[in-house]
Symmetry: C2
Subunit: 184 residues, 2 copies
């Protein structure tokens, strides 16, 4: 999945009342998502946050594993965290991918509710047959604000469970989405 | 998957040097695994730890969402956490399942390395065609000690990535395993 990239967004999100909010970066999101991305061969994970101090926090979490005691404790954590880049917003992630690949990525919106979008088979087929980079967007809090969804080129169907319960953590959702998109 | 149960084990685990250790309970493990279990219709999640103080901590994490501010903030978190039971060890989880279902569960070992075990299709078929309860065992730290593996009736194959990197978080591994086992 060399043409697959992820972005974890923290603004603009909605809270449970639908108000626009900025969520905090969670260090375990970075670790779990990086490890899942490395496992399934994703080319880059962008963690987007508008607040410089939180980006600096996230960079310290990441860099702890690059040398010194973190690296000695678990040298393979670095391989995953090397995929992580801190950016201010979605536009900066897009610009970075364009700089790396020479092409503007297709933006794919993920949500816990979409059912009229792309199937996993369709997106996997596209990733295997078209070299255009794809940027999967994941939200935090109670999900991405409408302004983000409106920018998406494609919508990926929600992960369906046994009934209407759709409250997977973003860490679990990323893991399942990547597993479903892996080459067979 | 009414006949499917999970247990998250913290002792006896191994560390990166293969020594036998007891790991700490992580509150996010409980939340993420409960939410994934609820999504995919698992009947119970046992969190096993030999230290009473850590079981009490985990019970407080769970019960925070049962009433008061936690419930007001997110009422559906309770539905997931209601699946979580704190036990001292694997034997207590087995006894609880036997008490609930009247049958001793089949113990299934999961690991990041197994490749000569059951496929996901095989286990899904078994869950759909045989009412015997199945207890999926998940480890923490650097995995379950050999004493646990030796008790397993069946081994589930590892989640394969694009190469030999096999360092998914237990939260991600649980999510992927349950998604693969869901009824099609």
């Amino acid at each position: 999945m060399a043409n697959l990239f992820l972005v974890l967004l923290h603004h603009p999100m909605v809270n449970r009342r639908g108000e626009i909010v900025t969520t905090a970066i969670t260090s375990l999101d970075i670790h779990d998502i990086a490890r899942s991305a490395r496992t399934f061969g994703v080319s880059g994970v962008y963690v987007a946050h508008p607040v410089t101090a939180l980006r600096d926090f996230a960079a310290r979490v990441r860099d702890h594993w690059f040398d010194g005691p973190g690296r000695q404790f678990d040298s393979r954590r670095r391989e995953a965290l090397e995929l992580v880049h801190l950016v201010a917003d979605l536009d900066q992630a897009i610009a970075e991918i364009e700089r790396l690949t020479g092409r503007r990525p297709v933006l794919v919106y993920t949500s816990a509710r979409a059912s009229d979008g792309l199937s996993y088979d369709e997106l996997r087929h596209r990733l295997g047959s078209d070299a255009t980079p794809v940027l999967l967007m994941f939200g935090t809090g109670f999900g991405m604000a409408p302004a983000i969804r409106e920018r998406a080129d494609l919508v990926l169907n929600a992960i369906e469970g046994v009934d209407d319960y759709n409250h997977l953590s973003v860490r679990a959702a990323v893991a399942i989405v990547l597993d479903r998109l892996r080459e067979r």
